[in-house]
C-alpha cells in the first residue's frame, strides 16, 4: 500500500494528481491520520498506510476571505472534519461563501488542474 522508497508527501500528491483523495491509517493504534506523515502522530508507530476515506465530512469552522471583485471576489475557507476523524483545511465549492455554515455535511471531490490535485468539498443534503 505504501511505497517505502519515496516520502509519503510525494506519494500523496501523486495520487491527488490522478484525482484520488487518500488519508492514512495507523496499523498499530488504528487511528486515521491527515495530513500524511511518515510516523503516526497519535502513537509514534511507523506502520502507517494509505487508506481511502469515505469522503464524507462536516464543516467544523468557517471563514469568508474578503477579496476585491476584480481579483476574483470573496471566497470560502473551511476546516472540515472527515467522518474517519481527521480534520483538514479546504473549501466548500457549491455554495456562496456566506452560505457555508458550521455543521454543514459535505462530500469530498478532487479538482485537478495544471498537474496538481486539490481536495475540495460540496455541500450535500439540506443546509446546516
Amino acid at each position: 500500500m505504501q511505497d517505502k522508497n519515496t516520502g509519503v508527501l510525494a506519494q500523496h500528491q501523486a495520487a491527488l494528481a490522478e484525482g484520488k483523495f487518500l488519508i492514512q491509517q495507523c496499523n498499530d493504534c488504528g487511528q486515521h491520520i491527515y495530513f500524511p506523515r511518515e510516523v503516526c502522530p497519535h502513537c509514534g508507530s511507523d506502520a502507517v498506510q494509505f487508506a481511502s476515506p469515505s469522503g464524507q465530512g462536516t464543516v467544523y469552522a468557517v471563514t469568508t476571505v474578503r477579496r476585491k471583485p476584480a481579483d476574483g471576489g470573496d471566497y470560502n475557507v473551511s476546516l472540515v472534519d472527515l467522518d474517519e476523524g481527521p480534520r483538514l483545511m479546504s473549501r466548500v465549492d457549491n455554495l456562496k461563501p456566506d452560505a457555508v455554515k458550521i455543521g454543514q455535511r459535505v462530500s469530498a471531490r478532487v479538482v485537478v488542474a495544471d498537474g496538481k490535485g486539490v481536495v475540495v468539498f460540496d455541500a450535500v443534503g439540506g443546509a446546516a
Binding site: 468557517v62 475557507v77 480534520r87 483538514l88 483545511m89 479546504s90 458550521i102
Partner: protein, 392 residues
Amino acid sequence: MSDGLKALRGSAAIAGVATFGCGEAHGFSEMELLARSAHAAVADAGLKMSDIDGLCTASVGSTMWPMPVIEYLGIRPSFIDGTMVGGSSFIAHLLPAMHALQSGQCNAVLVCYGSTQRTAAFGRREIAQARRWMDPQPYENPYEPFNPPSAYALAASRHMHLYGTTRRDLAEVAVAARQWAQRNPEAFMRDPLSIDDVLNARMVSDPLSVRDCCLVTDGGGAYVLVRADRAKHLAKKPVYVLGNGTACWNRQISSMPDITVTAATESGRQAYAMAGMSAKDMDVVELYDAFTINTLLFLEDLGFCAKGEAGAFVQNGGIAPGGHLPVNTNGGGLSCVHPGMYGIFTLIEAVRQLRGEGGERQVSGAQVALAHGNGGTLSSQSTAIFGTADTL
C-alpha cells in the same frame, strides 16, 4: 511541577526594559531598532553592553539571527538562545535564561527584538511569498487562507458557534484596548473607537474586520534579566520572574485539536504552578492580542473565566479602564504596537506596571502581573508571571 522549577521562582529579575521606534520608524533598519532598544534597556538596568554575556533573540525573516545581533552589538555571550516559536519567543526565552543565570553560565541576559514591518521597502507581500518556500504548508496553502487573519477567524467562528459569542463581544476587546491606548503616549492609534466603528469596519476574513486585527507597525523592544541578588543593587526597582511556561501543540490551525482551546491552558498551568499562584492573584494582565479573539481565548485558557464565558467577561467595558480586570494596559497589539511579533511588548508593559511607571494608565497598587505570548496561528503559547519584592 518539579521542585527544581519551583526553586527558580523569583531567582531572576528584569533589571532593564526599553522600547524604540514604536509606530513608524522611517529610515531605520530592523537591526538599528533592535540596537537602540537593547542599548536603552541595558542603560535602564544601570549596566554597560560589556556586562551582557547572554543573548536571546529571534527574527521573522532571518533564520540565523543571533549571529548578526552578536556581531552588531559587539558582545561575546556564553549563553545564546535563538529559539523561534513566533511572537511568544521572547516570553519563552525567560526560563532557559533563568537556568543559565542560576547555573552561572552567564550573568546578564539581553533579550531583544526589532522590526520595520510597517515601513520596510521589502514588504509584507514579498515576505509572505518567501515564507511559502521557507515554511511550507502544502495542505493549507492551496486554499489561500489570508493568514494570519483567516486562521484566527476560523477559531472565532467556532467560538461563536459553540458559545454564542458575538461580533459585539469581539468589538469590546478592540474598544477596551483603544481606551487603554488613549492613556499611553507611546501607543500608535489613540483616536476614539466605538463598538459600532469596529462592527462597521471593512471585513477582512469573517467574522473579523480590520479593527479586530492588530496593527502593523515598526518597533523595537528589549529587556535585561539578571539574578535576583544582583538586581537589588542595580538602578531600577527589580521585577521578579515568579513563573514561566511554554507549550506548543501544532503549527497549522487545521492541526489544532480543538480550535477554541489553546496550548495556553498548559503554558498557564506551568507558570501558575511555578509561581504558586492562580488567575485570581493577577493584578494586571497583558495578553498577546494579535486579533480580538485572542484576548477571549486567553482569558478563558488562563483561568480568568470558564471556557465559553469570555464574551460575557469583556462586555460593558469589563477589561477597559475602570473594568473588573485591567487587560492590555498599553493598548495591546490592537492599538499600541505590533511590529511582526508583539510578545516582548507584553512583558515590557508588565514590568512598567509593576515598577509604577504606567503614568495615566497605571494600575494602582499592582504587585503581580501576567504576560502572555502567542506565536504562529494560535500555535505556540508562553506565559510569564512577574511580581514585586513584596511577592517573593
